[in-house]
């Protein structure tokens, strides 16, 4: 994941570096004339100031070309158009008119701005294990998202992750709509030795999930994970059904699942789900398909919620906790 964006971004940093360097040569301010009657040490410091700490002002013109390049790289890597606009805007704001001391390397300045932009967009991380440890049990987690993004697989992976980290879990088969969905989650659970509460196909999903929570309370289970049927954010009745489920379950965390390969629509639906039922954290699946990773940036920027996990394959172990700094280090290169 992020391989494509990474190599592009690193090239662009160099371009930025060159443009600003070039600007430095042309626009270096003339040395101020020495003021007579000052102490010699001031003169020394003035020279030092001239040679090492003289400040340069970066103009928009200097960075237009690399910014255009950065924009292309972001778009090609599936960062949604609006989000790419925001990142470019941030870069501009941070570089144009900034005073750069001549002693600092241009690369550091650019890397700093880019790192700042990406970290701002990716937001804070989220440690699910710490969360569960700190919380009253059972911790109730509701999974939401559009059709086919990998909700059921992800919920099973999360259950497995919590289980190997020492927590007891129960699954609620809340997709009572899609043909074969109950069998799918039940079979996964059977293979992993995890309890699943299920009703009939076509039954009320809120009822199954309610029963799952009751089961967890009665059996001192640490974590409840409730699956739901995929639904599109523009279907009013399905979204209000989800809202009803949320009201019945009273989840501690609503985890919204989308896939790394989604393009610009990732932003639209993430926003609608967040507005209509609320999202606390995001799981981004199918990261193994896509070395680009733009959707992570798009979604995080749009709803400002942390990304919890990446899904990286169809196996139960293909789940990786998401850490923004690690990703940004990878993209921009380690700081310093």
């Amino acid at each position: 994941m992020f391989e494509g964006l990474k190599s592009k971004l690193q090239n662009i940093q160099k371009t930025f570096g060159r443009s600003i360097e070039a600007a430095a040569v042309v626009e270096a301010p003339a040395a101020p004339a020495p003021i007579p009657g000052k102490k010699p040490d001031t003169f020394v410091s003035r020279v030092k100031n001239l040679v090492i700490e003289r400040e340069l002002i970066v103009s928009e013109k200097d960075i237009n070309e690399p910014l255009a390049e950065l924009e292309m790289a972001l778009l090609e890597n599936d960062v949604a158009l609006d989000v790419s606009d925001a990142i470019i805007g941030y870069m501009k704001e941070n570089l144009v008119g900034s005073h750069r001391k001549i002693g600092t390397s241009v690369d550091t300045v650019v890397a700093g701005a880019l790192r700042g932009a990406l970290l701002q967009v990716l937001g804070e991380g989220f440690d699910p294990l710490a969360y569960v440890r700190a919380h009253e049990r059972p911790v109730k987690i509701l999974i939401t998202g559009v059709n086919g993004t990998g909700k059921t697989t992800s919920i099973v992976k999360m259950a497995h992750y919590f289980k190997i980290n020492g927590f007891s879990v129960v699954l609620g088969a809340g997709d009572t709509f899609r043909a074969g969905a109950i069998e799918q989650i039940a079979e996964h659970a059977r293979r992993l030795g995890i309890k699943v509460i299920q009703h009939q196909e076509g039954s009320d999903p809120a009822a199954v999930i309610y029963d799952t929570v009751e089961y967890a309370k009665a059996h001192n289970i640490d974590v409840v994970l409730a699956d739901t049927a995929g639904r599109f954010h523009n279907r009013k009745n399905l979204m209000s059904q989800l809202d009803k489920i949320r009201r019945v379950m009273k989840p501690d965390l609503v985890v919204y699942v989308d896939e790394a390969v989604a393009g610009n629509d990732a932003v639209v639906r993430a926003k609608d789900f967040n507005d209509l039922v609320g999202t606390d954290a995001v799981m981004l699946t199918k990261a193994d398909m896509d070395p680009r990773g733009g959707a992570a940036i798009s979604i995080a920027h749009t709803i400002g919620k942390p990304i919890l996990f990446l899904g990286t394959g169809q196996g139960y172990d293909d789940i990786v906790p998401f850490r923004p700094e690690t990703i940004v280090d990878e993209l921009v290169g380690v700081e310093g």
Binding site: V261, G263, K286, M289
Partner: protein, 438 residues
């Protein structure tokens, strides 16, 4: 977001409309807003750059054909280039055939398999379905449940792990069946073993079609994925799923371009009947956003509230002559028709310029003609045959040409309104979006 996008397209178009010669700055502005619309629809970044270069070049270098103004000339080029991007519509016919379904995990292969079974069954053909997904738990149950609803036989075995075995036996089992559809497990470009599996299935089944199922939301990955599938089995058609959401399906165009094939069907819902043949015009209007539908519908609603015109029904394509009559009556309140229609950024380009030229005398004549139609004719203009045309023209004291012109005008309007539709839920969606953006 979408709103501002289409309005920048609209503004760019307006600027061109005022010119007498093709103006570089105006063309560049148009191309820029077009680029943004296409990028936001997930059309491949390189395809977009290529397309905009070629639109710019043609708009500036080609002479406008005689009798065509600058705006029409530029729009025609934009339209032609966009249609070129769509490829040819994917081929399908009703002959005996085997279809192999391929695609990424969760793209909608199984659901679309059942929809296709339904489609061919409706055409009176015998259909059989093979479940070659031996990986995903519940995959057999999913397909079996869907097929049971429509009484289509399914071959498969949830306990068997070897997909090749199932395909071999399934092909034998359905030797006498006219249409055989093979559903497979999901896979992606980097999964060499799974790619090999579908290569082997392709060899055993020797299908007539190998269709790639693409989720409408798929982004820039589409090109890379399609290239790998095409290399592996030779894709000859693309199916887009989940067009009932808000995604624009631009990724599918990358797939079309990589595979040199075309889009065959569009899936736009979770039920078995939600399958449509591909229509480039409505696809394009969706790609570019629906334009200033808000202003249009608001003004339309305002003007027509008392006329009880059902704007929603019109958007669904139920635009009868009766509606048109009311519309003509309301036109004064709404402003000139041309202005109303041009609020749709490029929906307008499918409409011949003279369609707008409804002068008030013409409008009056149309009303007189419609007054001599029967109720049934007003509700369903399709039934107006040659003899009816003559009867109406005599009744209205007009020529048969006038009646035919009116009918043509109605068809144009109906098409235009339908083009705005894009998908079943777009109206609600647009309303919601507009509601929010206020």
């Amino acid at each position: 977001m979408l709103d501002s996008l289409s309005s920048s397209l609209k503004d760019a178009l307006k600027k061109i409309a005022g010119k007498t010669v093709v103006d570089r700055a105006a063309v560049e502005e148009l191309v820029r807003s077009l680029q943004r619309a296409l990028l936001q629809a997930d059309v491949n970044v390189r395809l977009v750059m290529h397309l905009s270069q070629s639109i710019k070049k043609r708009a500036l270098e080609e002479e406008p054909p005689k009798g065509m103004n600058v705006r029409e000339h530029v729009l025609r080029i934009v339209y032609q280039e966009l249609v070129g991007l769509m490829g040819n519509a994917g081929k399908t016919d009703l002959s005996r055939q085997t279809i192999l379904m391929a695609g990424l995990q969760g793209s909608g292969k199984t659901t679309t398999t059942a929809k296709l079974a339904r489609y061919f069954q409706r055409k009176g053909l015998k259909v059989g379905v093979i479940c070659a997904d031996t990986f995903r738990p519940g995959a057999y149950r999913q397909l079996a449940t869907l097929c049971a609803k429509i009484n289509v036989p399914i071959f498969g075995d949830p306990a068997e792990k070897d997909a090749l075995l199932i395909v071999r036996d399934g092909i034998k089992r359905f030797a006498e069946t006219e249409i055989v559809i093979i559903d497979t497990q999901g896979r992606h470009a980097l999964e060499d073993e799974l790619i090999k599996e579908i290569v082997d299935i392709n060899e055993i089944a020797a299908p007539d079609h190998r269709w790639l199922v693409i989720d409408a939301a798929l982004g820039q990955q589409a090109a890379e994925q399609a290239r790998r599938f095409n290399e592996a089995i030779g894709i000859d058609g693309v199916l887009i799923t989940k067009m009932d959401g808000t995604a624009k399906g631009g990724g599918a165009l990358s797939a079309v371009s990589e595979t040199k094939s075309g889009i065959v069907f569009i899936g736009d819902g979770e039920t078995i009947d939600d399958l449509e043949r591909f229509d480039p015009d409505s696809f394009i209007s969706r790609l570019l956003g629906m334009g200033d539908l808000k202003a249009l519908t608001e003004r339309a609603e305002e003007a027509m509230a008392d006329e009880e015109m059902d704007v929603n029904a019109m958007m669904r394509g139920k635009f009868t002559l009766r509606d048109m009559y009311r519309q003509l009556e309301a036109v004064n309140k709404m402003g000139p028709l041309k202005q109303v229609m041009s609020m749709l950024p490029l929906g307008g380009m499918q409409i011949p310029e003279d369609a707008y030229d409804v002068t008030s005398t013409k409008m009056d004549r149309y009303k007189v003609i419609m007054n001599s139609m029967t109720s049934a004719e007003l509700d369903d203009p399709q039934i107006i045959s040659g003899s009816r045309v003559h009867r109406i023209s005599r009744g209205a004291g007009a020529s048969p040409e006038d009646v035919r012109e009116l009918l043509k005008y109605h068809r144009v309007m109906q098409r235009a309104l339908k083009g705005m539709r894009g998908s079943k839920f777009s109206m609600q969606r647009m309303m919601k979006r507009f509601g929010k953006s206020q």
